[in-house]
C-alpha cells in the first residue's frame, strides 16, 4: 500500500562529491588571458571580453557607462546600423555591460558563425569613434528613461541605500542624474575608450561548443592588439557612510506600496566570515523557504517577496534586505525583519532546519554546475576576484561542515539592528 505521508528515501546532498569542471587556460600573443569551457550539447558559443573599464576608473559620473554603451554605435568604417545589422544577420547578440571595476562586451552566437563576427568585435575595441549624433540621441533617450524610473519606488530605494552605505563619492554608492547626462562630451569618451579599451586590460572567457580553430582565430584578431601594456591605475576610494541610519522618503503621495531596504556594510569575498555567512543568509532570507519569506510572505502576506543577500562586489560589500510591501504594513514589515534578526542572535538554529538549508544549497550548486554558461560564469567570478578553484571546494566543505553554533556567533556579530541602514520609499 502506497504511503503518501512519508517522503521517499533521499540521498543527502551533503554526501555528494561535487567537482568543478576544469577550465582550459591559454594566452594570446599579447598576453591576454583566455579561459575556455568546452561543454554543452547545443552548437552555441559565448565569448566575453572583460576590460578593467568600470566606473571605478572614470573621472566624471557616467563616462564609463556611456563609453561602454556606445561601443556599438560607430567605427570609422561602420555606422551603428551597420554594426547591429552585421551581428543580427547572423542571429548573434552583442551585449555590453558596465560594472564597478569591469566592463564587458559579450557575444552569443551559433558556433558556426563566430568567424564572421570576431573581426567586427576587434574593430569595435580598436576603432570606435563615438559619433556626436549618437551621443546626443543617447543623452536624450537615457534622460527619458531616467524620468520614468524616477517614478518607481524600488528604483529610488536601490540608489539611496547604496549611497547611505558607501557614500556618493564611492563607485558603489553613486548614481546618475539628468545633469550628468547633459555634461557628457565626446572627447572624454574617446579618451576613456583609448585608455581603458584599446590600450586597456582584457580577459577573455569562452564557453559552449568551442570550434577547434577558436584559439587561433582569437589570436589572429586580438593577439596583436595593444592590450595589457599600460599599468592599471591604482585608485583608492574611501567609504563615507551616512551618519543618519533611518530614512523615509515619499516619492509618490499616491503610492500604494513602499520599497524597503535595510543594509549594513559587510567585508569582501576574501574575509574568513564571507562564505559561512552565506549559509546564515540563506536561513535568514536567501531562498523561498527562508525565515523572512516564511514569516512575512507566507504567514502574514505583507509582500509578494522579501529577500536578503550579500551584494556581489569585488571590494567591501553590504548585507541587504529588500522588499516591496503594502504601504500600511511597511512598519510592521520592518519590525518583523528585526525580530527575525533577534531570533537568529538569541537562538541556535536547530539541526533539522540547518540540514535542510545545507541540502538545498548543495543541490543548487549541483544545478549551477550544469551547462557551459553557468560554469564559465562561476570561473569568471573566481578569476576576476583573484580566487581559484580552491575557493569552490572550501565553500562546499563549509556548507557541509559549518555548525549551528558558528552561525549563531555570526548572527551575533553581524545581525545587530543598530548597524543597519533603513530606508522606506513610498
Amino acid at each position: 500500500m502506497l504511503n503518501r505521508k512519508i517522503q521517499p528515501t533521499i540521498t543527502d546532498a551533503v554526501s555528494f562529491d561535487l567537482k568543478l569542471r576544469t577550465c582550459e587556460q591559454y594566452q594570446l600573443d599579447n598576453k591576454v588571458p583566455v579561459y575556455s569551457m568546452n561543454a554543452g550539447t547545443q552548437d552555441v558559443l559565448m565569448i566575453e571580453w572583460v576590460f578593467k573599464a568600470g566606473n571605478w576608473f572614470e573621472q566624471k559620473n557616467i563616462v564609463a557607462g556611456t563609453t561602454n554603451f556606445l561601443l556599438k554605435n560607430g567605427t570609422s568604417t561602420k555606422t551603428a546600423y551597420q554594426i547591429n545589422d552585421h551581428f543580427e544577420f547572423y542571429g548573434a547578440y552583442l551585449n555590453r555591460t558596465c560594472y564597478n571595476e569591469t566592463a564587458s562586451i559579450t557575444l552569443h552566437c551559433l558556433s558556426k558563425h563566430f568567424n564572421e563576427l570576431l573581426p567586427v568585435v576587434a574593430e569595435i575595441i580598436t576603432d570606435s569613434i563615438f559619433p556626436e549624433e549618437e551621443l546626443i540621441t543617447y543623452q536624450q533617450n537615457q534622460k527619458q528613461k531616467l524620468s520614468v524610473n524616477l517614478k518607481k519606488c524600488d528604483f529610488i530605494a536601490n540608489r539611496l541605500i547604496d549611497e547611505y552605505v558607501y557614500g556618493f563619492h564611492h563607485p558603489y554608492g553613486k548614481y546618475t542624474s539628468t545633469l550628468d547626462y547633459d555634461q557628457l562630451n565626446r572627447a572624454e569618451l574617446i579618451e576613456f575608450f583609448k585608455r581603458f579599451y584599446t590600450e586597456g586590460h582584457c580577459t577573455i572567457f569562452t564557453a559552449g561548443k568551442i570550434p577547434s580553430n577558436l584559439q587561433s582565430q582569437l589570436n589572429k584578431y586580438f593577439g596583436a592588439l595593444p592590450l595589457q601594456q599600460r599599468a592599471i591605475p591604482h585608485i583608492q576610494y574611501n567609504l563615507q557612510s551616512a551618519v543618519e541610519k533611518k530614512h523615509q522618503i515619499i516619492n509618490d503621495e499616491n503610492g500604494v506600496q513602499g520599497a524597503i531596504r535595510i543594509a549594513r556594510p559587510f567585508p569582501n569575498k576574501h574575509h574568513p566570515d564571507y562564505q559561512k555567512t552565506q549559509i546564515l543568509n540563506n536561513i535568514f532570507g536567501g531562498f523561498f523557504g527562508s525565515r523572512l519569506m516564511s514569516n512575512i510572505r507566507e504567514d502574514k502576506g505583507y509582500t509578494y517577496g522579501i529577500h536578503s543577500y550579500i551584494q556581489n562586489h569585488m571590494g567591501e560589500t553590504a548585507w541587504m534586505i529588500s522588499t516591496e510591501a503594502g504601504r500600511d504594513v511597511c512598519e510592521a514589515t520592518i519590525s518583523e525583519v528585526y525580530k527575525e534578526m533577534e531570533i537568529l542572535r538569541n537562538e541556535v538554529v536547530d539541526e533539522d532546519e540547518l540540514s535542510l538549508v545545507k541540502n538545498y544549497m548543495l543541490g543548487t550548486v549541483l544545478g549551477d554546475l550544469d551547462g557551459p554558461f553557468q560554469l564559465i560564469a562561476r570561473w569568471k567570478n573566481y578569476v576576476l576576484n583573484n580566487l581559484d578553484e580552491q575557493y569552490f571546494y572550501n565553500s562546499v566543505q563549509l556548507i557541509k561542515n559549518t555548525g549551528a553554533e558558528e552561525l549563531n556567533v555570526l548572527a551575533k556579530k553581524y545581525l545587530n539592528p543598530e548597524e543597519f541602514y533603513e530606508l522606506t520609499v513610498i
Binding site: Q42, Q144, S147, G289
Partner: protein, 411 residues
C-alpha cells in the same frame, strides 16, 4: 532534435520523458490545461491565485517546498492566459520526492483557509507591485479591454481588479481544482538524467491511482473579426506620452502566426530593425519602440508600443508608424533581410534548448498544442515563409479596421 518517449496512464495522464545523461539533474514539469482564459468574467485572476494555493499544502503533505529543498531541489510555477505550469529541478537520484509531491497535490489539495487568506494578500501585493504602483502599469489592462470584446483574453492573468482576488472563496477553490486539476487535463514531462523504464514505474506508482476526472472541454467565445478601428486616450501621472497599437493576428498553430512572428522581428527585433532605425535613430520620434506578440494559443495581438520623445506630437508619431507599415505591405522584403530574421529564429531556438528545464517546458507546451513532435519541426515552418507571404499577411492584418490604438498621455 529533441528526443523523447511518450506513454499514457490509464487515468489519462500523458507522460513524456526526455533522457539526457550529460546532466546530474532531473526536471519534473507538470502542465495543467487551464489558464486565465478559462475564468469566469466575474472571478478573474483565479487561475493565477490558484497557482499560489498549490504551494499551500496537499492532502497528505503539509508543506510542498520543505521536502523538496531537503532533497536539494528548487521549484517554481507560472500562469499564463492559456495554461498553468509547475516545474521543479533536483538531483536526479532524488527524483522520487518530486513524484511524491506532484502526485499528492494532483490527488487533492488540503484546501486550507489560512493558505487562501494569506495568498489572497500576497497576490494583491503582486498586483499592486506590478500593475498599480508602476508607471504605465495598467496599459495592458486597458488594451486588452479595448481589443477583445468577447474572448477572455480581455483580462490579464493577474485579474481585472483587486476585488476579484480579494473575494475568492474556498468553495471556488475546490470547484476549480476538481474541474481542472485532474490527470486527464494534465501533461507530465520528466527530463534529465533518468531512464524511461524507471519513470514509467514511478508514474504508475504515484500518479496511477489518481481518479481520472472529466476531460475539460474548452468552448470559449471566439473574437469576431474586427471591422471598425477602436481608439482610446488616457491621461495619467506619467512623465512621457506612450503609444500602443495592436492588430489581431492568427492563433498559435496557423501559418499566419509564424509569418506574424517574422514580421515583428523585421519591424522591431533588435537595433537594426526597421522601426528602431527609422523612428528612434533617424526621425527621433520615440525614445524606445518595441514590436512583439505574446505567443498566445488563441488568436493574439501583434503590438507596436513605444514612448515618445518629449515634445513630439503623438499623431505625427502614429503617422510615421503607419508609413513603416505601408512599406512592409507594399515592398517585398529582401532575401537578406528575411534571412536575417530566420537566422535569428534559429539562434533563439538553439539557445532556448540549452537547459533541460526549458526543454521540458517546451515539450509540455507542444504536447498541449497537440503533439510534442511539433517542437522539432518549428524551424522548418519559419524557413518556408517567403517575401510574398510577408506582404500578403501584412496586408491582411495591418488594416486600420483591425486595429486598436491607445494614446497614453502624460497629464
Amino acid at each position: 532534435m529533441i528526443e523523447y518517449n511518450r506513454f499514457t496512464l490509464d487515468n489519462g495522464l500523458t507522460v513524456l520523458v526526455h533522457e539526457d545523461t550529460a546532466t546530474p539533474m532531473a526536471v519534473v514539469n507538470v502542465l495543467y490545461d487551464v489558464g486565465a482564459r478559462d475564468e469566469h468574467p466575474n472571478k478573474t485572476g483565479f487561475a493565477h491565485l490558484f497557482e499560489h494555493l498549490m504551494f499551500g499544502g496537499s492532502i497528505n503533505i503539509a508543506d510542498y517546498d520543505e521536502p523538496l529543498q531537503r532533497a536539494g531541489g528548487d521549484n517554481n510555477a507560472y500562469t499564463t492566459n492559456d495554461l498553468t505550469n509547475y516545474y521543479c529541478q533536483l538531483p536526479a537520484q532524488n527524483i522520487e520526492t518530486a513524484f511524491w509531491l506532484e502526485s499528492d497535490r494532483m490527488l487533492s489539495l488540503a484546501f486550507s483557509e489560512k493558505s487562501l487568506s494569506v495568498q489572497r494578500k500576497v497576490v494583491c501585493e503582486e498586483f499592486r507591485e506590478h500593475y498599480i504602483n508602476k508607471p504605465y502599469g495598467d496599459v495592458w489592462k486597458q488594451m486588452r479591454q479595448l481589443a477583445y470584446t468577447v474572448h477572455p483574453y480581455q483580462w490579464m492573468t493577474i485579474g481585472k481588479e483587486l476585488s476579484h482576488v480579494e473575494n475568492a472563496h474556498i468553495d471556488d477553490v475546490k470547484h476549480f481544482f476538481f474541474k481542472h486539476y485532474r490527470p486527464v487535463n494534465a501533461i507530465l514531462v520528466v527530463a534529465g538524467n533518468v531512464r524511461t523504464e524507471d519513470i514509467k514505474q514511478l508514474a504508475e506508482k504515484w500518479f496511477g491511482p489518481i481518479p481520472m476526472g472529466d476531460k475539460y472541454i474548452r468552448c470559449l467565445p471566439q473574437e469576431p473579426v474586427q471591422d471598425l478601428a477602436r481608439r482610446l486616450t488616457i491621461e495619467a501621472a506619467v512623465p512621457l506620452d506612450a503609444f500602443v497599437k495592436t492588430w489581431h493576428m492568427d492563433a498559435r498553430l496557423n501559418k499566419g502566426y509564424y509569418t506574424a512572428d517574422l514580421i515583428t522581428e523585421i519591424l522591431g527585433g533588435g537595433a537594426s530593425s526597421r522601426l528602431y532605425q527609422s523612428l528612434v535613430k533617424e526621425q527621433k520620434l520615440f525614445s524606445n519602440l518595441d514590436c512583439y506578440h505574446f505567443g498566445s494559443l488563441d488568436a493574439g495581438l501583434l503590438t507596436i508600443e513605444g514612448k515618445l520623445v518629449k515634445g513630439v506630437d503623438i499623431n505625427k508619431a502614429e503617422q510615421a508608424i503607419a508609413e513603416q507599415i505601408a512599406q512592409i505591405q507594399e515592398q517585398p522584403v529582401s532575401i537578406a533581410e528575411l534571412t536575417k530574421v530566420k537566422n535569428k529564429t534559429e539562434s533563439v531556438i538553439a539557445f532556448e534548448d540549452m537547459s533541460i528545464m526549458s526543454r521540458a517546458s517546451s515539450l509540455a507546451m507542444y504536447e498541449l498544442m497537440g503533439d510534442a513532435s511539433l517542437m522539432n519541426t518549428e524551424l522548418e515552418k519559419y524557413q518556408e515563409i517567403n517575401p510574398q507571404d510577408i506582404v500578403d499577411y501584412s496586408k491582411q492584418i495591418f488594416r486600420e479596421s483591425n486595429s486598436n490604438t491607445l494614446h497614453y498621455l502624460a497629464k
